[in-house]
Subunit: 228 residues, 2 copies
């Protein structure tokens, strides 16, 4: 029985057992909506129609809108864990006493998230909409990175012509590497980000070792093996 | 009238005029197949079914297979111009007397092609199949780049831990930047490639000026403008 139906039942039949069943129903529906949304946002982008989500979750539109009055409420819930993880990465980066190491850990952290959770990162890079709750988290994240960039420039560790847009460019490039490298996504992402960071810092920074070269697999995606 | 029908007409009715009409028909069909394929390969990838191509081109399967016996024949024809352009880029790069400048121009040339023709580059990076004619061109291109890499290492201009897979990584990353940056694709691609090249060369190379920072537009894709 759908929750929206059960709410119109005759109150005289209600009991503690009914109320508990109702709460269980509601929780169940809520979880189904979240699961369906996560799947659809990842595969079809963030603007998938609400009725498609309701159909996939097998709930009525009334139930969907009662649980999540706006798409933004749904996005915030579905990606709550990822937003929290982003926030933690930025927070730790800003707290680092070495501005370059802070910026570096922030970039590496976001890139690793992209490599680990391609659905979120694709949706995120592609078409994240303005949304009160999400916007607030994003603004905090942006302010954190702007602070990191400023501090690393002030300390002479970051090239002065680096801009916030270059950070966005890293995320876009990383999302391409992750999408195309398939099984080698994590290795490709690490090596790409290391190359980019290498070109962002100044001579004041001790150079870091590059992650290992990608042994095989990458070129097979773009250039088929001539021996096959 | 479709060409495959006209071939079964009674020979007694043939004339020079009929033959000319037949050739015009054949050319027309051929061009329609090429146009439909180009569109479908770009939007749906290289493995779009042959019957979908025939339907879009409004020709019969017999006509399609008579003009292009294999998918590879079709790919070679559809992307002939792009393959020729790639080959010219690699050839010019290899001919450059300065190994670093050669490698650099090769990477910049391919990246610019990706930025200019997203359909080809997406299809190319995503799922280029093994194909005799294409494979041969690719093998030539690969050999050219392998030669460039070796020469730039030998001249002490390229870091010794650079591999051919890293070149593939650049193309993958660039395809992400191009896909996400939309109108700013060319600017984003140029800046990304410049950053990467910056981290590939050794101190023996005179540093080049970085292309201008991306003024606006990029972060609006990933991070919505908080003032809107």
């Amino acid at each position: 029985m759908r929750v929206e139906d059960s709410q119109f039942r005759d109150g005289a039949h209600s009991s503690d057992t009914d109320a508990a069943a109702l709460r269980a129903d509601a929780r169940h529906n809520r979880q189904r909506i979240i699961d369906a949304s996560r799947e659809l946002f990842s595969s079809h982008g963030l603007d998938v129609p609400m009725k498609v989500i309701a159909r996939r979750a097998d709930v009525g539109m009334a139930t969907l809108y009662r649980r999540f009055p706006t798409r933004q409420d749904l996005l915030a819930e579905v990606f709550a864990e990822q937003f929290a993880q982003c926030a933690a990465i930025v927070e730790a980066a800003v707290a680092n006493p070495d501005p370059w190491q802070g910026l570096r850990s922030g970039v590496e952290g976001l890139a690793a998230m992209q490599a680990a959770d391609h659905g979120f990162s694709a949706a995120f890079v592609r078409d994240l909409p303005t949304a009160s709750m999400i916007e607030q988290k994003l603004q905090e994240g942006m302010r954190g990175f702007e602070e990191l960039i400023e501090r690393a420039k002030a300390s002479g560790q970051l090239r002065t012509d680096f801009t916030f847009e270059d950070l966005v460019l890293v995320l876009m490039a990383n999302s391409g590497a992750v999408a195309h490298a398939k099984e080698a996504a994590a290795a490709a992402s690490k090596r790409l980000v290391a190359f980019l960071l290498e070109s962002f810092h100044t001579a004041a920074v001790e150079p870091s070792a590059l992650p290992p070269a990608i042994e095989a697999g990458l070129s097979g995606v773009v250039f088929p093996d001539p021996d096959q």
